[in-house]
């Protein structure tokens, strides 16, 4: 199944890609919906079905680009969704990673400082990510609101520099994975390490998809508004 459509059911979605669990949760969609279709679920929860499909498909399929749907929903909807995702990272994912990393360090039977250095690297990554999120929430998203409401457009933010920042942030996650999988002496509790890595992989996937939504949906919409306003 490459593309989800409104006739699919929640089970199809999750069974096909369980990474979508937190995604539908951000829309307020719970489990336990029996055999209702996505269309029905969206109606009940007052969700724009095109938007819902654009998001889950972008998550599910790297090559998916919701060109047609793009114009059918407001950037404000996306912003609301992206903010929820940020909250999921800051309130759930990062604390979870930290707890596991802490447990991992405690389980280390050697007296080397390798994992301590890894933890410092993680905190470096985290501070960059938080800064990035803060910038989006304080600069980018308000700008979106302004643009949508057609108020004055101030060019204090360069839309085009946005994508580069994403690649900086995700190269660090990749480095973290590399360091742990390839180079750290395995003097720790393996099960904790695996759990940490699995969580990290899930987080990486989620955040890459999140960035793709920003790059592939939000940015093109902003550029479109900018173009229209310049005409």
């Amino acid at each position: 199944m490459d593309i989800f459509v409104k006739e699919h059911k929640v089970f199809d979605l999750i069974n096909n890609n369980y990474h979508l669990l937190p995604v539908i949760n951000r829309f307020g969609v719970n489990l336990g919906n029996k055999d209702k279709t996505l269309n029905e679920i969206c109606k009940i929860n007052d969700i724009n079905i095109d938007f819902f499909l654009a998001i889950v498909n972008t998550y599910n399929n790297k090559d998916y680009f919701p060109e047609k749907e793009l114009k059918s929903f407001s950037p404000l909807m996306i912003v609301k969704y992206l903010k929820k995702t940020h909250t999921y990272y800051t309130n759930y994912m990062l604390p979870k990673l930290e707890k596991l990393l802490h447990k991992l360090i405690e389980s280390d039977s050697s007296d080397s400082n390798q994992l301590i250095v890894i933890e410092q690297f993680y905190f470096k990554y985290k501070s960059e990510l938080l800064l990035h999120i803060k910038e989006e929430e304080e600069k980018v998203f308000p700008l979106v609101e302004k643009m949508v409401n057609n108020k004055t457009y101030d060019a204090g933010f360069n839309i085009h520099s946005y994508e580069k920042e994403h690649s900086d942030v995700d190269s660090k996650i990749n480095d973290l994975k590399n360091l742990i999988i390839k180079y750290i002496e395995p003097t720790y509790d393996e099960n904790i390490c695996y759990e940490f890595l699995v969580t990290l992989f899930r987080f990486e996937k989620d955040i890459n998809d999140h960035a793709r939504i920003e790059d592939n949906i939000l940015i093109p919409q902003l550029l479109e508004i900018e173009r229209a306003q310049n005409e």
Binding site: Q114, F121, K124, D168, D175, N178, L179, K182, Y183
Partner: protein, 193 residues
């Protein structure tokens, strides 16, 4: 590895000039050929890992192209006779100065000796570069400290990242610390990151 460079150029002046520059700066074996047919006849005796500097009109001949196609150990730098501003690493211009030419040949040899992707042992030189990267030095500073060109530093960094799979400077620093490449007894590691 015994470095081998073969020069294919119609001009004896160019052949010998390049050979002279290489002999003075790089420890390598140089052989001169006027044309591709001369080269091809003896090619079986020339080994399978070498660098060819070849005049661009010969490079574009179909016989040269098909010769080079299945020879993985052979690297090519083309020689351009016209007066053009020097740009890429895979091209030597007749008006390049000796330093530029040596640099291009060195970079080509570095690429040739580069291990397959995934092999993670760094060369001594790469470790030198890595240490300085970890300590926060910029490319220019590293170049000065190690008496190499900035270009070579960049090429080392590219190889390091490729070998280790680590892209960010802080990630490289962590690698250097956990492998004890840098002495961290007097520094706060998180300041380096």
């Amino acid at each position: 590895m015994n470095k081998k460079v073969y020069i294919l150029h119609r001009s004896a002046v160019v052949q010998n000039g390049l050979a002279e520059i290489l002999h003075h700066n790089i420890n390598c074996e140089v052989k001169l050929f006027e044309s591709f047919p001369d080269f091809e006849i003896v090619s079986e005796t020339l080994g399978d890992k070498y660098l060819v500097l070849v005049e661009d009109n010969q490079l574009n001949s179909s016989s040269f192209k098909s010769f080079i196609r299945n020879r993985n150990g052979v690297s090519v730098i083309k020689i351009i006779n016209s007066f053009t501003q020097s740009t890429g690493n895979d091209t030597i211009y007749l008006y390049d100065n000796a330093g530029e030419i040596v640099n291009k040949v060195n970079v080509a040899f570095e690429q040739m000796t580069k291990p397959e992707k995934g092999e993670d042992t760094l060369s001594t030189r790469e470790i030198d570069v890595l240490k300085l990267v970890a300590l926060g030095y910029a490319n220019k500073e590293i170049a000065d400290k190690l008496h190499i060109s900035t270009h070579t530093v960049i090429s080392h960094r590219k190889n390091i990242t490729e070998k280790l799979g680590i892209k960010s400077v802080s990630g490289l620093t962590v690698y250097a610390v956990i492998n004890n490449f840098i002495d961290t007894s007097n520094i706060n590691i998180s300041d380096l990151l």
